[in-house]
Each structure stands twice: as structure tokens, then as C-alpha cells.
């Protein structure tokens, strides 16, 4: 069992005796331990959460939340599984927003850069208010991304939006009714499917497998008994 020693112990007294803070969940005041995540605060307050929890790791975007800290008029956005509560905080989860997603057959697009304007005709109507960038919990420069998409720089968009968890918080704030995350998703897929280099080595490998290039090696290995196989495995380093 673990030996007790005090020298390698991190000071964290607040965890031993959690200080309670008062927060507001959807307008209702509750006391919860300071520093737990927004999701855990909801559970602590006795709220069953079905819609609004997903991966709990900051990747799925299910827990998009609006919050405000004490005395600050600014309403901010966060992922509830990745944000700690603090005294005076007020928050509410974002309901599913009815953004329009275009549907398309990505592989058969003839002119993906032009098609953007057919699928998302509102994309060029950005009025530069920057609200989408301010709303992004992943710190993506969303406004810049929308402009780059419109100007056909699909590569930059695909790189900028690699961090996008599709929480959709950029959408309700857009005064031009653009859904920037959906625009970026289309652009990124088009970039991958139409404007990326051929991976020649991959095609070679697929051909080798089809032509049975590894068959002799397979035959040899699959005939081995457990002992022979273990010995063979030990030679692969």
C-alpha cells in the first residue's frame, strides 16, 4: 500500500474543505463547492442532465453554455465540462439552435469553391461584427475564417477550424444568419476531398494488398503454432 509521506504532497486545502459559492443556474440560486465544473455543479444542485452532456472531455460540443461572472455585464460562452464555477457566476445551457445545414454529395462537387455560395448563400453577407469570434470557446478566429472561406482560401479555413467542436455558439449571435461552423465544415471537407495532394504511398499499399504481395508472409505466420509465433514476435522490434 501507499506509504504516507508529507514531502510529496501538493497543497490543496480547498479540496479537503470545499468553500461553498453561490451561483445561479438558469436563474435559480444554489450553493455548490467552489471550483467544480459547470456540469458537476448542475449534478450537485440535483439537476438531471440528459441533453447537454456528451464526451465530458471538451471535444463533442454538447455542453455549450452561456455564463456571466459576478457584476460583469458581459455574457460569455463556455463548454460546461471544461469550466470551473466561481462565486456569483450565473449560467444557462444553450438549447439546440435551429441552424440550417446544407446537404451535399461531397465527392461529386464540380466546383466546390463556387458551390459554397449555392449551399450557403448567406456566407458572403458577413457584416464584420466579430460576435462569432467572441462567442467561440475554442478561440478560433471565426470571423476571419468566414471571410477566408468566401475568398476561396479553403486551406486556411480547414486549418483554423481543426479545433472546432461544433458547439454552434457562433451561430445564434450572427446578425447575417450565417452558421460559421457549418460553413467551415463544408469548406474543410471540400479541402480534403478536392484540394489535397494524392497520397501515392497509400495507393501503392492498397495495390500491394490486392495483388497479394504479403501472402507468403501471411501463410508463414498463420501456420505457426503458439510457440513459434511467440518466438517470431520477439524478433520484431
Amino acid at each position: 500500500m501507499a506509504q504516507e509521506s508529507t514531502e510529496n504532497v501538493i497543497d490543496q486545502p480547498e479540496v479537503l474543505k470545499p468553500r461553498m459559492v453561490t451561483i445561479e443556474i438558469a436563474g435559480k440560486k444554489v450553493d455548490v463547492p467552489e471550483g467544480i465544473t459547470v456540469i458537476k455543479a448542475m449534478w450537485y444542485a440535483g439537476i438531471d442532465v440528459v441533453r447537454g452532456v456528451g464526451c465530458l472531455g471538451g471535444f463533442c460540443g454538447a455542453c455549450a453554455t452561456y455564463y456571466r461572472t459576478k457584476d460583469d455585464p458581459k455574457v460569455r460562452t463556455c463548454l460546461a465540462c471544461q469550466t470551473a464555477v466561481q462565486d456569483g457566476m450565473s449560467f444557462t445551457m444553450m438549447p439546440p439552435f435551429p441552424a440550417r445545414k446544407a446537404t451535399y454529395e461531397i465527392q461529386t462537387l464540380q466546383d466546390p469553391k463556387q458551390d459554397l455560395f449555392n449551399f450557403y448563400p448567406e456566407a458572403p453577407l458577413c457584416r464584420n461584427c466579430n460576435a462569432c469570434t467572441e462567442a467561440c470557446p475554442q478561440r478560433i478566429d471565426v470571423r476571419e475564417g468566414v471571410w477566408k472561406a468566401v475568398f476561396g482560401d479553403f486551406k486556411s479555413v480547414s486549418e483554423m477550424f481543426m479545433d472546432c467542436v461544433m458547439c454552434g455558439m457562433c451561430t445564434p449571435v450572427c446578425i447575417a444568419d450565417i452558421a460559421p461552423n457549418l460553413v467551415a465544415l463544408y469548406v474543410s471537407r471540400a479541402q480534403g476531398a478536392h484540394f489535397s495532394e494524392q497520397a501515392v504511398g497509400l495507393d501503392t499499399r492498397i495495390k500491394e494488398i490486392q495483388e497479394g504481395r504479403f501472402n507468403d508472409e501471411w501463410n508463414k505466420i498463420l501456420k505457426m503454432n503458439d510457440q513459434e509465433l511467440a518466438e517470431h514476435c520477439a524478433t520484431v522490434k
Binding site: 501538493i10 463533442c60 470551473a84 465527392q107 497520397a199 504511398g201 497509400l202 520484431v236
Partner: protein, 527 residues
């Protein structure tokens, strides 16, 4: 002591450690280490399953109880179907989406049901990458051998062979759908070396590989107008007079009503069990990872394989409290991040297999060389600043943006300070036994992805899960669509449940729980 004071030993010993090479364990030492420290060998956490297809087999108490659990469905429920499909897919993660797209592509009428939203899964969190042998010096055979070694030679050879051989064509399919894998300067796919692999084989999309694949697959499922049933938790399967699978019953989580779906074939793609918190471990898994598919399949008579072995990912965060259990990607170790105990010493080759690395960390902590947090947790340091020191300032920011951001939110800069880690419950190595077409011993019941068993042996190799999902998602989808063309919809009955209940009664109805669990009970009931 202040955390920064404790971290000093990592900074102080960094230069000396950089030159050091730590050999991997010999097979004998490795077995000894694992038997002594790996949670799979903690006998008190296990018990035999009392009845059913795996009667007498041992598994963790938490799972055994659920497998023996009773169904929430009454025998006399009205089974008039609300909807019908050729192929019904239960689960909306990587395997479910891949199965749906392939079954749909083969002309089947598909319904994809999931208890949360489409895409809410572990797949979306996969950071390390996807193993596919695309490099010229690599081969599917080497991939096979590496996986076999990682799995302690217990892997099902047939399943493993099809996975490694289908890999390259899966990469091609994903590229055609627009997945942006990292490239080399010459346009070829960039490969990284993963723990337990002899060759660099990991395809990555920075440290967002799972997220990128899932963004694309989800989008494609919607573009193909595949019928979705979200917030619908499967609570029971349906069978005909011969015991073949013919559909499923769902609970609509928005209104608690039951929804009956008739289907010619059912594919379970329900993922793993992390949220059962077996042996009290924290978990890296998503909210819905409660092993529902195992319970449903078991009641239908499907045989399980390797359900006594679980993967504890070596590097779950232990500090700060808010991130407990969250993963610190293996990619950090792939790029040279070292594990360091409280004395400033390395103690394992960081690129050994996950079970070996986890066992070593547990050993260090149990022998008093760990660092304790005041909440009673213990861990060792992962020297993240070493990556910037070794490969140049900004390396972490560039290669691990997701992880940088995750810690930055709590005021921790991992390029300056090491992080405290301890193994976290990560993956169910076993699951429902399947053949190379993902079929179980129950006719017309398929299982794909983490819920299935046999492929990974007793320890899954890093990067093999994403490939498993895509390969067996595809195989289940195509085979199920093929079956569906040649058959009529079977009768909807609960005869399998009556049989299961009779057996449970013989054994005294001891479980006392209703399964599947659907979601963990985190909501505080008092106060």
C-alpha cells in the same frame, strides 16, 4: 508543499534524463510486473457470472451485476412497431456512423438510434491517431505482429488480419470523404510512432484525429439523410421464435415513452464501460459509456469474450481536480515526453504498451514514489516541457493544441510545467464475440467497435481503436445490408427475455438491478 516547488525536481533532472535510455521489459519481467500491479489481476474485484452464455466466467463485479440484471421491459408490452428498418444501428459513435454509411450505401433502409446526440461518443475524443500501415518500410503483417504482442498473443487472428488488411482502404475512404490527415512534404500521409509499435504507423489530424473523423462522418450521415433516432436509449432487443434478432425497444429520453423498431438486422455499436467506474477508477470515457450493448446482447444469448480485461490508459490527469480522469494523450509520450517519479527518476520505457506503463505507474505510487494531492489522489509527473526543450519552443502548442487549451483553461501552461498523471479507466478490451463480418452467435445480431471482443486480445494497442471502428463498422454494415436483401422481417417477441428471466429466477434473482444502466447516476439526490 506548493505544486511548483514539487515540480522543481522535474526541471532539475531534465537534462540528465534526456540522455538516458530505458530498455523495455523482457517478456518475463513484463508478466511479473503486470500480475503484481495491473488492476486486471486484483482478484477481489472479480467474480464469476452466475448464469447465461458466459456462466462461470469471471469479470469485474460491476459488470457481472449488470449482465445478470433484469430488463425494464414487462413481458406483455405491446410490440406493434413504430418504425421498421432493414438495418437498425444502435450507437452513434465511430462504428455506428461507419456502419450506417456503408449499409445505406449498399441500399438498405437504415435507422441509426443513439441515446445522446449523433456523434456523442468516445470516438470524438480519440487524440493519438489511427494505426494503418501505409509507410513503405511497414506492412500489414508487421501491424498484425505488433498488435498481437500488445494483446499478449490472445487476439483472434482472423479478426486481426482483416483489420490490418482493410486499413489502407479505410484511409482512402476517409480521405475521399474529406478527412484531413496530416501530410508529409511530399503529400504522403504522415505517420507517427505509437506505444507498443515497431514502426511509425499512426495517422493523425494534429491531436484531433477522432474529432476530425467524427465531424466528417456525422456530416455525411446527415447528408445521406439517414434516419436518426436521437435521445433514444435501447433497453431491450427483440427476437423471433427461433431466437434470431428482429429489432429493439427504445426508451425516448425526452418523454420516457417506449419506441419499438422492427429490423431485419441489428448492429450494436454501443461502445464501452468506463462510466461503470470499475474498481473505483476515474474514466476518460464519455457520459454514456455504461456497457448497455453488452447487457442487451447477453440477454439475447450472445457469447462474450475477454470480458475480464480492461485497459487503464497510463496518463489520466490527476490535477487539477476538474480534469480528473481526463486523458493526457499518448502522443506526448510518442514525441518523447518522459514519466518521472517524486525522486526525479524515470522508471519505465514510456513507449512500452499501455498495460506495462500503467502497471509501472501504479508500482511507483504504491511503493511511495508518487506525488499525492490533498484530495487523496496520487500520481507521477509527465514531463511535458521536455518536448519544447527537445524539439524547439512552440512544439506543444503546434502538435497538441487540444491539450494545451484544456489545461490553459485552469491556468496551467503545460509547456512550462509538467502534469500529474495516474492510470484512468479507458477501454474495454473484450466484448461480444464476433466473426470477421461482425456477426455474433445470435443470427442477425451484429456488434461493431468497442462493444465487440476478441480483436484486441488482453490489451488494445494505441491507435487500433479508430481503425477497429471503421473496419468492423463497414463489415457489419455491408453484411447486414446483404442479409436484409434476402430475408423477410421476422416476428417481434420477447421470448429470449422470458428464457433469461426463467434462468435468473433459478439463480434466485440475485442481481437486484435493472440493466442497461443508460446513464451514470451523478445527480445528487439529497441536500
Amino acid at each position: 508543499m506548493d505544486i511548483h516547488a514539487l515540480q522543481q525536481i522535474v526541471h532539475k533532472t531534465r537534462d540528465a534524463r534526456r540522455k538516458q535510455t530505458i530498455p523495455k521489459f523482457s517478456p518475463a519481467d513484463r508478466d511479473q510486473l503486470i500480475h503484481k500491479y495491473h488492476p486486471d489481476f486484483r482478484a477481489s474485484a472479480y467474480r464469476p457470472i452466475k448464469f447465461g452464455p458466459n456462466e462461470g466466467d469471471k469479470t469485474v463485479v460491476e459488470l457481472a451485476t449488470l449482465l445478470e440484471g433484469d430488463s425494464p421491459i414487462q413481458d406483455d408490452l405491446d410490440l406493434t412497431p413504430h418504425d421498421q428498418a432493414d438495418v437498425l444501428i444502435i450507437g452513434g459513435g465511430g462504428a455506428g456512423c461507419a456502419a450506417a454509411l456503408h449499409a445505406h450505401g449498399a441500399g438498405a433502409k437504415v435507422i441509426l438510434a443513439t441515446k445522446l446526440r449523433l456523434g456523442d461518443s468516445n470516438s470524438v475524443m480519440a487524440q493519438g491517431g489511427m494505426q494503418i500501415s501505409v509507410a513503405p518500410e511497414d506492412s500489414p503483417v508487421t501491424h498484425f505482429i505488433d498488435t498481437l504482442k500488445g494483446g499478449h498473443m490472445q487476439n483472434d487472428h482472423a479478426l486481426l488480419k482483416v483489420m490490418v488488411e482493410d486499413g489502407p482502404s479505410i484511409a482512402k475512404w476517409l480521405l475521399e470523404l474529406g478527412v484531413l490527415f496530416d501530410r508529409q512534404a511530399d503529400g504522403n500521409l504522415h505517420v507517427k510512432k505509437g506505444g507498443g509499435s515497431s514502426k511509425p504507423r499512426l495517422l493523425t489530424c494534429s491531436d484531433y484525429t477522432g474529432l476530425e473523423i467524427m465531424r466528417v462522418l456525422k456530416d455525411e450521415v446527415i447528408n445521406q439523410k439517414i434516419q436518426l433516432l436521437e435521445f433514444a436509449a435501447a433497453v431491450e432487443l427483440l427476437s423471433d421464435d427461433e431466437g434470431n434478432c428482429t429489432g429493439a425497444i427504445f426508451k425516448d429520453l425526452d418523454n420516457q415513452r417506449h419506441v419499438v423498431v422492427a429490423a431485419k438486422c441489428v448492429i450494436l455499436a454501443t461502445g464501452g464501460i468506463g462510466r461503470l467506474h470499475i474498481q473505483g477508477f476515474p474514466t476518460s470515457n464519455h457520459y454514456g459509456a455504461t456497457g448497455d450493448g453488452l447487457c442487451l446482447a447477453y440477454r439475447m444469448g450472445a457469447k462474450l469474450d475477454h470480458i475480464d480485461t480492461f485497459q487503464y490508459h497510463p496518463s489520466g490527469a490527476v490535477y487539477p481536480e476538474q480534469l480528473i480522469g481526463a486523458l493526457v494523450t499518448e502522443g506526448i509520450r510518442s514525441e518523447g515526453g518522459q514519466l518521472v517519479n517524486a525522486k526525479g527518476e524515470r522508471f519505465v520505457n514510456e513507449l512500452d504498451t499501455r498495460d506495462v506503463v500503467s502497471s509501472s505507474i501504479i508500482r511507483e505510487c504504491e511503493e511511495g514514489r508518487g506525488i499525492r494531492t490533498m484530495s487523496g489522489r496520487v500520481g507521477v509527473w509527465l514531463d511535458t516541457p521536455l518536448l519544447d526543450a527537445e524539439h524547439g519552443s512552440g512544439t506543444l502548442e503546434k502538435h497538441f493544441p487540444a491539450m494545451m487549451l484544456q489545461f490553459e483553461r485552469f491556468g496551467i501552461d503545460i509547456s512550462k510545467d509538467p502534469v500529474l498523471i495516474y492510470p484512468t479507466l479507458h477501454y474495454q478490451n473484450g466484448g461480444v464475440k464476433i466473426d470477421t463480418n461482425s456477426e455474433t452467435n445470435v443470427r442477425n445480431l451484429f456488434v461493431a467497435g468497442e462493444a465487440s471482443g476478441g480483436l484486441h486480445g488482453r490489451n488494445r494497442l494505441m491507435g487500433n481503436s479508430l481503425l477497429d471502428l471503421m473496419v468492423f463498422g463497414k463489415r457489419s454494415g455491408l453484411t447486414a445490408a446483404g442479409h436484409a436483401k434476402e430475408m423477410k422481417q421476422g416476428k417481434l417477441t420477447l421470448k429470449h427475455l422470458q428464457r433469461f428471466r426463467a434462468e435468473a429466477k433459478k439463480h434466485g434473482n440475485v442481481s437486484g438491478v435493472i440493466s442497461p444502466m443508460i446513464l451514470p447516476a451523478y445527480t445528487r439526490k439529497v441536500g
